[in-house]
């Protein structure tokens, strides 16, 4: 997916208003289009979010607090945070290495490498879970060996972390590459020719210029890691209190007809999404203030 620009920060240019009617639509057409466009967004995005909070508090604040303090929900929250704490640093280190290799050097097969890095975005989450079951599952390629040595991957934390790593694999690399591309190589080359080591160059020249791109990639990677459902559902085994993540907990409560609790847990995940978007907007403001690059921290893939 070469030119995904979903979530791309838009230049902060104000819409140009045409002064004469030949360049613009009649007022009633504008109004109609605004009503249709905004109405569509309202029905598709705003209503569902409003509904989550309405349903979460349907039985009062006391019930809500009990629902999110339920031991199984707390354990799901702990697992979700643990998985994110493993996956996000891994993909961030990979993202930096991949972006450095791709933007600072020329080599053959670069476009193939970029396509391969993007590949996980095109794979169904369920398939992402399945591939690890095929390797580490009871009947998997190395499943029997692992059972002999008492190493558990599937239905345990390592499998959940692996599947989540796959699903969020390119997110940091994707938001870093355009930023580092725009900065170019001259500053680093100057630093190196003045005698700075490679690491020193990276920490004091590259990172300050690319930090907002990196931060945005990490924010997005984190949101997706905490919210992943399909891939995790396949590998986790959904053992209550042990291998349930927050999204799996939502499904389990819903299936048990404990709808209000399901919405209460869901509201925690909505809060995560809201925080993610707010941070994204802040990062966009920052980058357009500092005028580093074209003002877009992230033409990232999602």
């Amino acid at each position: 997916m070469a030119s995904h620009s979903v979530g791309a920060a838009l230049p902060s240019e104000e819409p140009r208003q045409a002064s004469t009617s030949v360049f613009a639509e009649p007022a009633w057409v504008r109004l109609l289009l605004i009503v249709v466009g905004v109405g569509f967004l309202g029905v598709v995005v705003i209503l569902p979010v409003a509904l989550v909070f309405e349903q979460a508090f349907a039985l009062g604040a006391g019930f809500y607090l009990d629902a999110i303090r339920d031991p199984d929900t707390v354990s799901a929250l702990r697992l979700t945070l643990t998985v994110a704490a493993i996956v996000v640093p891994l993909n961030a280190i990979f993202g930096v290495a991949a972006a450095w290799a791709i933007t600072k050097f020329d080599f053959r097969g670069k476009s193939i490498l970029i396509t391969l890095i993007d590949l996980p975005l095109a794979v169904s989450p369920v398939v992402a879970g399945l591939i690890y079951v095929l390797i580490f599952g009871a009947q998997g390629y190395i499943g029997p060996w692992m059972r002999e040595h008492d190493i558990r991957v599937i239905f345990a934390l390592p499998g959940i972390a692996l599947a989540t790593t796959f699903v969020t694999f390119p997110l940091v690399a994707r938001s870093l590459i355009p930023v580092m591309q725009d900065v170019g190589r001259e500053y680093e080359e100057a630093a190196v020719s003045l005698g700075a080591s490679g690491w020193r160059t990276f920490w004091s020249v590259t990172l300050p210029q690319a930090k907002w791109g990196l931060l945005y990639g990490i924010i997005l990677c984190n949101a997706r890691a905490m919210g992943e459902f399909g891939a995790v559902a396949v590998v986790s085994g959904k053992i209550t209190g042990k291998t349930d993540t927050l999204p799996l907990r939502v499904e389990k409560l819903d299936k048990a007809f404990d709808t209000t609790s399901a919405f209460a847990v869901a509201s925690m995940l909505v809060a995560l999404a809201v925080v993610t978007l707010v941070l994204k907007v802040i990062v966009e403001w920052r980058t357009s203030d500092h005028e580093s690059g074209p003002g877009s921290p992230a033409r990232e893939h999602v």
């Binding site: 620009s5 979530g7 838009l10 605004i34 249709v36 398939v127 599952g137 819903d254 999602v302």
Partner: protein, 266 residues
């Protein structure tokens, strides 16, 4: 020449192989354990074909809905100024940040006959939650940002002078839109359509909440993989996964082709 080429490229290839390439290779290797006859019997069973048909048609319908309303939304966000525009613009990314299970839960409750929106469909005698229409509706949410965010930058970059030229040559506003603006948007629009479609065919979390999941009726292809796995039928799961994966790769190929063309002419 900057240092670190060996280290960074080496680590990139190592990590990529370990997490992505070898596991995906294992899937294709596993599918070869099935003979052609078995592969076709499982991947081409009546139930599987019904699941592909639903997955692909619902994904395409969702992409098309975004192709119309998402385009209007992108136009409005780029061209007009009105209160709350920035906030709405930020909200377009919401489906990327919201966990799909939450989307599924909320959409199901929204579109049941007593729900905020479902009650109006109920008046018309249309069932949304637990039907194929429900699948389309939730996939529309999931794939919304892909259409809007692909069209938006192109719309921003469109040169106002061309429209002025068309107008000064006597074209009415509608003719300018139809003959000048829409053709210029077509490459980005088709890329957005393909990306929305690609995102929708793999989707699982949100759909299983709203679909009802009846075999041959409202069962999507990824769910069929999960069912096979629950019965420890790895071969069956693999066969359907390979079909789904090939469809995804084909779509990615189309997207790459479209966006390359867009870069050339855009």
């Amino acid at each position: 020449m900057l240092p670190g080429s060996g280290l960074s490229l080496g680590f990139t290839l190592f990590y990529l192989s370990l997490v992505v390439l070898i596991p995906l290779g294992g899937l294709f290797w596993k599918s070869t354990e099935l003979g052609w006859a078995d592969f076709l019997r499982i991947a081409g069973s009546e139930r599987a074909r019904a699941a592909y048909a639903l997955t692909f048609s619902a994904s395409f319908a969702a992409a098309l809905i975004n192709g119309v309303f998402g385009l209007v939304l992108a136009w409005v966000l780029v061209r007009y100024r009105f209160p709350g525009r920035r906030l709405l613009d930020a909200l377009v990314d919401f489906p990327l940040a919201l966990p799909t299970a939450v989307a599924g839960l909320a959409y199901t409750a929204l579109y049941v006959p007593q729900g905020w929106i479902g009650r109006y469909f109920d008046l018309l005698g249309i069932q949304v939650s637990y039907s194929r229409l429900g699948v389309v509706v939730v996939l529309t949410f999931i794939s919304l940002p892909f259409m809007v965010r692909t069209v938006q930058p192109v719309l921003l970059a469109l040169e106002r002078e061309v429209e002025e030229a068309a107008a000064s040559l006597g074209a009415g506003r509608w003719a300018t839109v139809r003959r000048v603006i829409l053709p210029a948007l077509l490459p980005a629009w088709s890329t957005g359509l393909a990306m929305a479609f690609a995102r929708a065919i793999g989707e699982y979390g949100s759909v299983i909440f709203i679909a009802g999941n009846l075999p041959r009726k409202t069962e999507i292809a990824p769910l069929l993989i999960v069912f096979q796995l629950e019965e420890f039928n790895y071969a069956g799961a693999t066969a359907i996964a390979v079909v789904l994966l090939l469809a995804s790769f084909f779509t990615v190929g189309v997207i790459n082709l479209l966006s390359r063309r867009q870069q050339r002419y855009g």
